[in-house]
């Protein structure tokens, strides 16, 4: 039995279909990532699974309990960190933690061993108001609060949005530590580069799942040749490359532009055609999750 089993869940707000018949299973102890932009339906899925919303169609089980019939049982088993900062900014770090412990009828001491690796980093500031913490520290406190009752499943809705790259990386290290303790984690993020930190990922967009696999598996699904091109004037290069026959797609990708080649693409002819371009370079590159996402979105 999976920790989370989702079977064709749908949810609409008025005319907007926020979630359209989504199905997948998260295994026990898995770190599962939902990757997609705003409006992909990530938050809606979290709210359905944490029993905050009722599904229009379909069903789901969390830790073996049905989200509709056994919603009270689910609520005492899961930890949830909503997308927004959801602590009391006017209470101190310690007061927040104590309150959430009381909410679940436990004491901080009982769960200290679990939260210690995270909480220790903010403990020196325990008398500080939560509203005065930095972005990274807020996340750590919110995670500590979500873990206080030793949940079996952890739902984290965009925990790293708006947080700088270093704090984001630290946050993923903490999640890896929690996974070691056997906690199932469902986490969403708009940052494609975070996908590699998950066991498996689901790429989602506009209420649909575009693909589910391990990060490596997703990338393997990219069945086209991919090149990176660069030149002194990157913008002119982009516009020119798009007009070349056999170039299916060309888009900016960091320091290079990625060029998706079709069957007819001939690299030698391409090189010859661009030989007059200053500092022109073309190399074969390995596709990333983001390349795959773009490919799936365009389909």
């Amino acid at each position: 039995m999976g920790a989370i089993e989702i079977d064709s869940l749908s949810k609409s707000y008025g005319n907007v279909r926020a979630l359209d018949s989504v199905s997948f299973t998260v295994e026990r102890g898995e770190l599962f990532g939902l990757i997609g932009p705003d409006g992909a339906g990530k938050t809606t899925l979290f709210r359905l699974l944490t029993t905050l919303l009722n599904a229009d169609e379909g069903s789901a089980k969390v830790d073996g309990f049905d989200i509709r019939a056994d919603y009270l049982a689910i609520r005492s088993r899961v930890g949830y960190m909503p997308g927004r900062f959801s602590l009391y900014p006017d209470l101190t770090v310690e007061e927040n933690l104590n309150f959430f412990a009381a909410l679940f009828g436990v004491t901080v001491d009982e769960s200290y061993d679990l939260i210690a690796p995270i909480y220790k980093q903010i403990e020196p500031f325990r008398k500080r108001r939560a509203g005065k913490l930095s972005g990274g520290m807020k996340q750590k406190l919110a995670l500590s609060c979500a873990l206080i009752h030793r949940p079996s499943v952890l739902f984290l809705d965009e925990p790293t949005t708006g947080v700088d790259a270093v704090s984001r990386s630290e946050f993923w290290d903490m999640l890896a530590g929690l996974k070691e303790r056997g906690i199932t984690i469902l986490v969403s993020t708009p940052y494609m580069d975070e996908a590699s930190r998950c066991d498996r990922i689901a790429l989602c967009n506009e209420g649909h799942i575009l693909g589910i696999d391990t990060p490596e598996g997703i990338v393997r699904g990219f069945d086209k040749r991919l090149y990176g091109i660069s030149a002194r004037n990157m913008f002119a290069l982009l516009e020119r490359a798009r007009r070349v026959e056999g170039v299916e797609e060309c888009y900016p990708f960091g320091e290079k532009h990625h060029l998706v080649a079709s069957e007819e693409f001939d690299i030698e002819r391409f090189k010859a055609e661009f030989s007059d371009v200053e500092d022109f370079e073309i190399v074969s590159v390995a596709p990333t999750i983001e390349d795959m996402f773009i490919k799936l979105m365009k389909r």
């Binding site: 944490t50 005492s76 909503p82 959801s86 009391y88 006017d90």
Partner: protein, 364 residues
């Protein structure tokens, strides 16, 4: 689970204590209102300068003028001629002029014997302040006519407030207003704040029933309201000298009931509003306006058009203010207002029932 209930109360109290500005406002508003209404309004009939015009100083007129001169609320400025009336009033030297008819004594005698004739006294009053003019006129009449004919001339309404100190009437009104403000507005805003900030999501995804959290939320506000209640009662008694012969405990118990009703109203508002702004607006428009207009606080209910008189029946403050007035000013015991108590109790139960039913433990 009692332990965690207390920790919810503690958390809520911390929110309130940390928000010092709001706290100060809540504690100060009642005091300021009491002092404002108490003094600014009670002095309205104070120190009105009065001049008298007579053709002949008879015994009856001298008696009347004597009473006027001795009264604390009027200052007798002397006898003037008819030609002086206009300039004296215009220049503000006097606020009112009393003109006695030449056969004042004879007519007064007739009135005392039951013959239907009135003493001819003309009152010319500076009416630039309508309230002052109205009160001054009524009061002048009673002072000038003396005790003999007073009962025949004036309605009993004055009996319970012979000095026309309007602050008495305002105290129950202020109480009706303040408790809605503190309880309903503040609880609704604090519940809705949790929705807005996002903490409500986390609270809902916990095994504790939200109803429990909400009751824990009400307790500190109830406590604050009790402090405000005591403050108001103390100010009313010792600063404004409201008699409260009907018994303080009756007023206190009835007010506790009204507090609970206000809390229930706040809960109801919080189930409707999704933003703090909306909660404030609903509290202000839907609750404050009827209290100001339809509760008898500013305008007597008997004087309202029939439609509003009917509508006023569903305004809880109307029943509360009416009952407090009876106990505080007329000195009636709580049993005399049992009907108001029952109505308020029924309203509390109904509002609480509706809002608990409406309160959802999901987001939709």
């Amino acid at each position: 689970m009692r332990g965690n209930f207390l920790s919810f109360v503690k958390k809520e109290s911390l929110h309130i204590l940390r928000d010092k500005r709001t706290m100060l406002v809540v504690m100060l508003i009642p005091v300021v209102l009491m002092i404002l209404f108490g003094f600014a309004i009670s002095t309205e009939v104070n120190n009105i300068n009065v001049a008298v015009v007579v053709s002949e100083r008879t015994d009856g007129i001298s008696d009347a003028v004597e009473r006027l001169a001795q009264n604390d609320y009027f200052t007798f400025k002397g006898y003037i001629s008819e030609d002086d009336i206009d300039p004296w009033l215009r220049s503000g030297k006097v606020g009112a002029v009393v003109v006695f008819a030449s056969d004042f004594d004879r007519r007064k005698e007739q009135a005392a014997q039951g013959i239907d004739t009135k003493p001819i006294i003309q009152l010319i009053v500076d009416a630039s302040n309508v309230n002052t003019a109205g009160s001054a006129t009524a009061y002048l009449q009673s002072v000038l006519l003396g005790s003999a004919s007073q009962q025949a001339m004036f309605e009993t309404r004055m009996l319970f407030n012979p000095q026309m100190k309007s602050a008495y009437n305002f105290v129950p009104g202020i109480m009706g207003l303040i408790f809605i403000l503190v309880c309903a507005m503040m609880t609704s805003v604090s519940i809705v704040r949790e929705k807005e900030v996002g903490t409500m999501e986390v609270l809902l995804v916990s095994p504790v029933r939200p109803v429990k959290i909400i009751f824990a939320k009400m307790i500190p506000y109830f406590a604050i309201s009790c402090i405000v209640l005591v403050t108001i009662l103390l100010l009313a008694r010792y600063l404004l000298g409201v008699p409260m012969t009907g018994g303080v405990w009756g007023i206190f118990s009835l007010s506790l009931l009204y507090l609970m009703l206000s809390l229930a109203l706040g809960l109801l508002v919080s189930t409707i509003a999704t933003t703090q702004m909306a909660a404030l607006l609903i509290s202000a428009m839907v609750m404050m306006m009827p209290i100001l207009m339809l509760s008898g606080m500013l305008f007597p209910i008997e004087n309202l058009p029939k439609f509003f008189r009917v509508v006023s029946n569903i305004v809880p403050a109307r029943w509360y203010i009416d009952a407090v007035r009876k106990m505080m000013i007329q000195g009636l015991p709580i049993v005399a207002v049992w009907r108001n108590c029952v109505i308020l109790l029924a309203m509390t139960v109904a509002i609480l029932g509706v809002s608990l039913k409406k309160f959802n433990d999901k987001l939709e």
